[in-house]
């Protein structure tokens, strides 16, 4: 299996705080990898590093065999990296369709074709009926979905999903999981950060666990969930 994303000795300091501390991991092409860890473990920082929003203090990131360390977010986007934001960020004064079109323009320069592409993505997410509503009028669940639609509109090779199901109810969660599966079937590599472990466990081929900026475990979901170190990281341990 070819390697889609490879992270080596990645480190990021904020002032005196080391938010990500020497993390290594690989994501194979077509894989879904879950990134988990308790609050403050450094997951979002890691995402921001991989998507170019932060520059690593040390370490390298490579994408499909090419070193992309330190590239800006839009350059990475053009190379096929697409991400969602934990706090969703629609463009409020644009309509749903127009929001997605911004991304679609990356591959389709003409207005009509971008519109068609955006409509196609919205249809995939079952949002075509809301295409002409202003994004500011959407509910939180719809916004989360729009966030995914925007990310997909780039036709990414690597998709980074940051808590796309938190705050959704059960049926919405199920629908989103279904969408993610379908995206993967389309050949997209996916890294997903999620607090709801159920989702991660059900979706991921592999799981990487972070705590205090360090990788503490990696492996199959079932194995990782039993790892005492992981349980301790989440629930705390008696001896400390």
């Amino acid at each position: 299996m070819a390697v889609a994303l490879s992270v080596r000795q990645l480190r990021r300091d904020f002032g005196g705080v080391r938010a990500v501390d020497g993390v290594d991991f690989d994501v194979g092409q077509g894989e879904i990898v879950g990134l988990i860890g308790p609050n403050g473990a450094g997951k979002t920082t890691l995402f921001n590093l991989v998507s170019g929003y932060l520059r690593p203090t040390r370490g390298t990131i490579s994408l499909f065999g090419e070193d992309v360390t330190g590239l800006s977010p839009f350059r990475l986007a053009r190379r096929g990296v697409s991400r969602t934001f934990q706090v969703v960020r629609p463009f409020p004064r644009l309509t749903v369709l127009e929001n997605v079109m911004v991304g679609a323009f990356l591959r389709e320069r003409a207005l009509r074709s971008a519109e068609g592409e955006a409509m196609r993505v919205l249809a995939l997410l079952g949002m075509e009926r809301r295409a002409h509503e202003p994004a500011s009028a959407l509910t939180q669940a719809a916004r989360k979905r729009l966030e995914i639609a925007k990310a997909l509109s780039l036709r990414p090779r690597l998709l980074l999903l940051d808590e796309v199901v938190s705050g959704l109810n059960e049926s919405e969660v199920a629908a989103t999981i279904e969408i993610i599966r379908r995206v993967r079937e389309g050949g997209v590599t996916i890294v997903i950060v999620e607090h709801i472990l159920k989702v991660i466990m059900g979706l991921s081929d592999r799981v990487v666990v972070l705590d205090h900026g360090k990788k503490i475990a990696e492996g199959l979901p079932v194995t990782v969930a039993q790892d005492p170190q992981v349980v301790a990281a989440y629930l705390g341990s008696d001896d400390a």
Binding site: N39, L138, Q140, G167, H195, L197, A225, L235, A240
Partner: protein, 234 residues
Amino acid sequence: MLEVRDLHAAYGDAPVLFGASLSVKEGEIVELVGSNGAGKTTLIRCVTGLLRRRRGTIEFKGDRIETHPAHEVVDRGIACVPEGRQMFPSMSVEEHLLLGSYLRRARSRRAENLSRAYELFPRLKERRRQEAATLSGGEQQMLAIARALMSEPRLLILDEPSLGLAPVVVGQVFRTIAEIRKLGMTILLVEQNVQKTLRMADRAYVLESGRVTLTGTGSELLGNDLVRKAYLAL
């Protein structure tokens, strides 16, 4: 003492709480557990007045406080150690403590409370002139707790006090909380580290997707597999 009923809340258009209820009685230590995104911090923000609730009531010592701004809630006797400690980066340790007793009703015994705080946290006394930004995470957490105590609260709310701290420091923090508890303080604790804290708690609530799904005494819940599941969201 604190009675939250059917609380609904949202950030902007994004609803987070869907009718959560809980109560804290005088002298109790009550714990609120739940996975991230379940709405724990949102609930705390509503209680402290930092976030206006959509629906529902919050009662403190018999008075409705859900429409009070935060500074009035503090005045009524609820102090909060917020998530992430929330320091004033370029103010000194002592200035933090003085601000803690900003309220008029706490000013008269300011000197007394200050020396008591230094007694409780001798480390802070050593660093009283130092700016908060230069303190370690553990020291900042201690300062946040000491600052909250300066307002002479009746109810102390602690939101994830162990967040981002090294395991050794986490132990210190919990020991401190236990000590404060011994002084007779009523405490509402939000924690991730359930193994350790449920033991201290008189009662606990499990919050899932904006609703309370489970409640019981600390030790009951400690053995309950459902908590483990809720927490890990398995």
